[in-house]
């Protein structure tokens, strides 16, 4: 097991190197100039300002020299300085990532709970009305564009019904507390500030549901099909013939065996959440990594783009590693040699 994890972590290093190289080259192939993207019309006509800008950001050097310098810094853990914000990319990522992580976790919890629940109900009541309803909802979850769904949900639940608050992580008339982990739910809980905790929780529900809806659809569909397959297996038939209650068969024997593919889908779903972040964060004014990535991309902020890519690649690999480890926990037959 430990050797397996060590091997995967070694692979992670190579992967991050590859991602950094790929993103660096790709972002320099874009037919657009970071000088033009970051200097005003008047400044662009001033050769002194253009030269100072190029010197400051190393753009006066050859692409190869820039690449070498970038990797030299990367080896010391320095992700560089963002051209757009003027701050170290690492600091920016640490500022924006907790908001995204918090939202992703809530979205994932919603997706898992509802997905497994709906998938199970759907399998038990196969081809009944409830099955058709759940399947329709699941397909909607997979097919509805997240930004459109976000706008509709915000309009219905926030503007029309007034059940949930509007945009942001907390009430607009209060300011975000500083310090802590940046995970506001956790920070407010630890500090015993339950008013803030409830405010943060309230703000998480709508974007969390919108973001989790897609993954929920995937998990529900996967749970249903796996459970149906498991329920038709010999050992289930044997259990039934022994007179075991249907609920005991499903809970004790069927669900755990149907879970391995669901975990794979959930892992992929979690990674997809990060991909769907840009639009959802935009609509809910969620100051996370999605917005940071978008703004960095339009400013051709190479260090920031590379930093975000490395972070996302890191998360993908770590999640896949966790999934592989979970296989073994759920199914003791899985070995890691």
């Amino acid at each position: 097991m430990l050797r397996f994890i060590a091997r995967r972590l070694l692979f992670l290093l190579f992967l991050l190197f590859g991602v950094a190289l790929f993103v660096f080259i790709l972002s320099h192939l874009v037919p657009s100039d970071p000088v033009a993207a970051n200097l005003s019309q008047s400044a662009l006509n001033n050769p002194e300002i253009v030269a100072a800008f190029k010197e400051k950001w190393g753009l006066d050097q050859s692409l190869f020299s820039q690449l070498l310098l970038y990797f030299q810094h990367l080896l010391t853990g320095d992700l560089g300085t963002s051209i757009r914000t003027g701050r170290p990319v690492f600091d920016d990522l640490m500022q924006f990532f907790p908001a995204t992580l918090e939202l992703s976790i809530v979205a994932m919890v919603i997706a898992l709970v509802l997905g497994i629940l709906f998938g199970t109900i759907s399998a038990i009541f196969r081809n009944k009305a409830i099955d058709h309803i759940i399947r329709t909802v699941s397909i909607s979850g997979v097919s509805i564009p997240s930004f459109w769904f976000a706008l509709i949900m915000l309009n219905i639940f926030s503007s029309v019904l007034g059940i949930t608050p509007g945009p942001g992580r907390i009430d607009t008339r209060t300011t975000t507390p500083e310090g802590g982990t940046g995970l506001l739910l956790l920070d407010s809980f630890i500090s015993g500030n339950f008013q803030l905790f409830s405010d943060v929780a309230m703000h998480l529900i709508l974007p969390g549901t919108v973001l989790g809806f897609f993954t929920m659809g995937l998990i529900a569909r996967q749970t249903r099909s796996n459970l149906l397959e498991v329920l038709s297996m010999d050992y289930v038939r044997t259990a039934r013939s022994k007179g075991l209650k249907e609920s005991a068969i499903i809970v004790k024997h069927a669900i755990s065996n149907a879970m391995i593919p669901v975990i794979t889908v959930a892992g992929i779903g979690f990674c997809n959440l990060l991909g769907g972040m840009v639009l959802v964060e935009n609509i809910f004014a969620w100051p996370g990594i999605g917005q940071y990535a978008y703004l960095s991309a339009v400013s051709l902020d190479f260090p920031a783009i590379c930093g975000v890519s490395l972070l996302i690649a890191f998360i993908y690999v770590v999640i896949n590693l966790l999934i592989d480890i979970l296989y073994g926990v759920i199914d003791p037959r899985v070995r890691y040699e």
């Binding site: 993207a37 919890v109 007034g162 509007g166 607009t172 409830s198 917005q291």
Partner: protein, 532 residues
């Protein structure tokens, strides 16, 4: 195991929901507004990259800088004419190159330090030597010196009729030199490599404006609190600026009373504001001008480089249609000088003339028309999409047999081609860096935009000569005359068709007072007031 995880998850969701439900409706009163009239919340989709006045150039920059810093000269209300601020008066010598400013007495920075001539000298020199975006406006300044505590002398390289206008921008905001130096700031010639004060200025302001920056989290929020040393009007003691990128979300938050101003919205969103609700629409002219560029190079522009075709295009366009698209408050300037600038002229009501346009097409040898690609970036001017503009152009030009094929693209790529003069036919906008006729001279042959249209100075020597006069003429009446002549020439003979001067439409809570929009600083935050 899975059962435990599921149970825990359900428990977590239930706890969240309970907390959430207990919170519902607690923050706002019945009208949807807040009971705290001392704090105003503004929703924006800002473009702030830095809050260092000697570096910034972003569109929303002066919303912040006018709240926290002061300049020698400023703009007031919706006017674009410079008025004294930290300076009480100025004189200019006979050469027109030496300006002497007398500072107001008793002005203090938020640190309690007095505003002195030395602070002005430091601020100007720092802007020049940082060689960042803001430095571009200080290009003509060769020397700044303090004669005494309250007298500053500025020497210019050449006469500049727009100097006072430039002084109103953040590039010339006066910083507390003692504080900035303590934080590693430098005004020396090597400041571009040695100055280290930007990080400090991104977190705390060092000006004498009505507010002090308490907190700025990029892409999230900004908190401003009243400057205890400011002696002018300050209505709200606290301003919170929240980043809300999506305009529809801004409107929803406003209608719910969660914010008091939805600033970054466009004509499409304000249409949804219902009368008698919690919010109202404010529309005001801006200096943003949409135009079509027809490349003058025969190799690049092909048919569009023909002056007869260019003139036919101008006659074929339905300007009133563009005015409607841009929304309430949109204006139709005659050509490249916006309403509000010296000598600005308006387009005549019956300018569109299809018969004349068709005649010109025939004269150019294109009676049967031709096909041309029109580039429109996925971008907007004050909420009006460039692609929508392009669709209207296509519809109008079809009437004179020009078949327009719209090509959309990323703004970064489109701008790059535009700046290199490679685009044959393009939808573009112009938003001035400072509010003076001189800024518009970029459209003259051989100048910034002129080059992008491959319009060489030799193409119109008279226009070039008038432009040189406009740069240095200080007498407003004479300058207005020169401006008028240039507008008339460009309206009839140029590679541009100026479409519309955009309005800024945004929405505010019905109980918000003191809302006057200015294209430079957007809103004077200290004048905003919530009625009880």
């Amino acid at each position: 195991m899975m059962k435990k995880i599921s149970l825990l998850s359900i428990l977590l969701v239930l706890v969240l929901s309970l907390f959430a439900c207990s919170n519902n409706g607690e923050k706002t009163n019945e009208s949807g507004g807040t009971s705290n009239t001392d704090t105003i919340v503004i929703g924006v989709a800002s473009d702030w990259k830095t809050l260092d006045p000697a570096r910034a150039y972003e569109v929303f920059g002066n919303l912040y800088f006018y709240a926290t810093y002061e300049n020698l000269y400023t703009l007031e209300g919706s006017e674009l004419i410079p008025k004294p601020a930290l300076a009480k008066e100025y004189t200019v010598d006979e050469s027109g190159l030496v300006y002497t400013f007398k500072l107001e007495e008793g002005r203090k920075f938020s640190s309690g330090n007095a505003v002195t001539a030395e602070d002005v000298v430091f601020s100007f020199n720092r802007t020049i030597n940082l060689k960042d975006n803001a430095s571009a406006l200080a290009k003509g300044v060769v020397k700044v010196e303090a004669l005494d505590d309250k007298t500053v002398v500025v020497n210019l390289k050449e006469k500049d009729a727009s100097f006072l206008s430039k002084l109103t921008s953040n590039a010339f905001a006066v910083v507390d030199s003692k504080v900035v130096k303590e934080q590693g700031g430098s005004d020396a010639e090597d400041a571009s490599t040695t100055d280290a004060a930007t990080t400090h200025l991104d977190g705390t302001s060092a000006g004498s404006g009505p507010y002090v920056l308490k907190k700025w989290t990029p892409n999230t929020e900004m908190v401003l609190e009243k400057n205890p040393y400011y002696t002018g009007t300050v209505n709200a003691s606290k301003i919170i600026i929240k980043e809300i990128p999506d305009p529809n979300t801004q409107i929803q938050a406003l209608e719910k009373g969660e914010i008091d101003v939805a600033l970054s919205v466009g004509p499409d969103q304000v249409k949804n504001i219902k009368e008698g609700g919690n919010s109202k629409v404010v529309s005001s002219p801006t200096s943003t001008l949409s135009f079509l560029l027809m490349n003058n190079s025969t190799e690049i522009g092909k048919e569009m480089s023909d002056p007869l075709v260019q003139q036919a295009v101008r006659y074929a366009l339905d300007y009133k249609g563009f005015q409607q698209l841009a929304g309430d408050g949109a204006l139709l300037p005659m050509s490249f000088v916006q309403d509000g600038f010296v000598g600005a002229k308006s387009r005549s009501d019956n300018y569109q003339n299809l018969e004349k346009a068709k005649e010109l097409m025939k004269k150019a040898g294109y009676e049967k028309g031709f096909t041309v690609p029109l580039t429109a970036a996925n971008y907007d001017s004050e909420g009006l999409s460039w692609v929508t503009i392009a669709e209207k152009v296509k519809e109008d030009l079809a009437k004179i047999n020009i078949n327009v094929e719209i090509q959309t693209g990323d703004i970064g790529v489109v701008i790059e081609d535009y700046r290199n003069g490679k685009t044959p036919f393009l939808v573009m906008h112009w938003s001035p860096d400072y509010y003076d006729l001189s800024n518009q001279l970029a459209f003259i042959p051989g100048d910034i935009v002129g080059k992008r249209a491959n319009w060489e100075p030799s193409a119109n020597a008279k226009l070039v000569s008038l432009s040189e006069q406009a740069k240095v003429e200080i007498d407003d009446t004479k300058r207005a005359e020169i401006s008028g002549k240039m507008q008339e020439i460009i309206a009839e003979n140029s590679p541009y068709a100026f479409l519309v001067q955009h309005p800024k439409s945004f929405a505010v809570g019905v109980n918000l007072e003191g809302v006057t929009y200015n294209d430079l600083y957007k809103l004077r935050l200290n004048e905003l007031k919530l009625s009880k």
